[in-house]
Symmetry: C2
Subunit: 192 residues, 2 copies
Amino acid sequence: MYEVEVKVRADHETVESALDGAGAEFVDSVIQEDTYYDAPHRNFAETDEALRIRREREPEAPGDAEAEDGTETTKITYKGPLLEAESKSREEHETSVADREAVVGIFDGLGFEPAATVRKERAHYRLDGYTVTLDSVDGLGEFVEVETETEDDDIEAAREGARAVLDDLGLDPTEQIRTSYLGLLLADDASE
Amino acid sequence: MYEVEVKVRADHETVESALDGAGAEFVDSVIQEDTYYDAPHRNFAETDEALRIRREREPEAPGDAEAEDGTETTKITYKGPLLEAESKSREEHETSVADREAVVGIFDGLGFEPAATVRKERAHYRLDGYTVTLDSVDGLGEFVEVETETEDDDIEAAREGARAVLDDLGLDPTEQIRTSYLGLLLADDASE
């Protein structure tokens, strides 16, 4: 299975109306804080690998700002280099962990250093067999991603379908952004 | 708090009788399989660090050899270099993880390689405020450890107490082994 996704910048208020009009189903929303690490023995930017700690929690209900600690989860993820440029397939390993502070201590002890943090609020919708994700990324703004999973030989059809969904939502698929949020943030840093 | 422990080789059948006679309380028993990793950028034997994946499960009840998968837990542990030789204190971080295979994949992807595995069955008893641990270590044999936690200024008294417990169990505290099971296994490998 391959993941096909198309991402564009988009004002969420407009897209939410369009999703509503198209009969999309709201799935859930979540706050993610991703810390990416540099390795002591490799340049991950050159090797195209990534090591990440992700904190995830539900957005607080209004008036519930104090609670919610129990619902936070932490995951660690390793993404290996691209194995095949065409399909963008890569090795990926992820597990949830019980103690975030301990993982930070383990990475620090081993000489891995936090390089950048990407914090976003994301809302998931279902529409026409696609997942539509509204991302509000700290420091970058609002984005919409349309994605689905597909077999090897259906990639082009799935990509066409994702573009059609964007079109239906009043968005322009030719404005696709291929850079990750981490890449966009680091590019911003570099241009300052 | 410091951990004080004294370990000797000991035949478990004899020690179990002595524990029974002394009124020791059986706590639990567990099977631990510890895989220690080599780092790609440091020699842990020289830096005196350790990175470990521990699988832990309860021993199977007789006739229950097929079951038990649900009770297995996995932890990752990092031990830093000794900070102070006197107290043997060191940085240590440990967390349980949900997916052992994913952690193996993450370590492998990052270039860490399994160096040695220590597998043991251990039984814990309580006696006179001390924990008495009967370890049966694959490839090494049977050991007894007596340990307790104590404040900084009571270390010598705690050590004396641990030796007295060994003496009560018919064991000779002067035969103390200070090398870890990993160290003993690696020493065996080196002498072959």
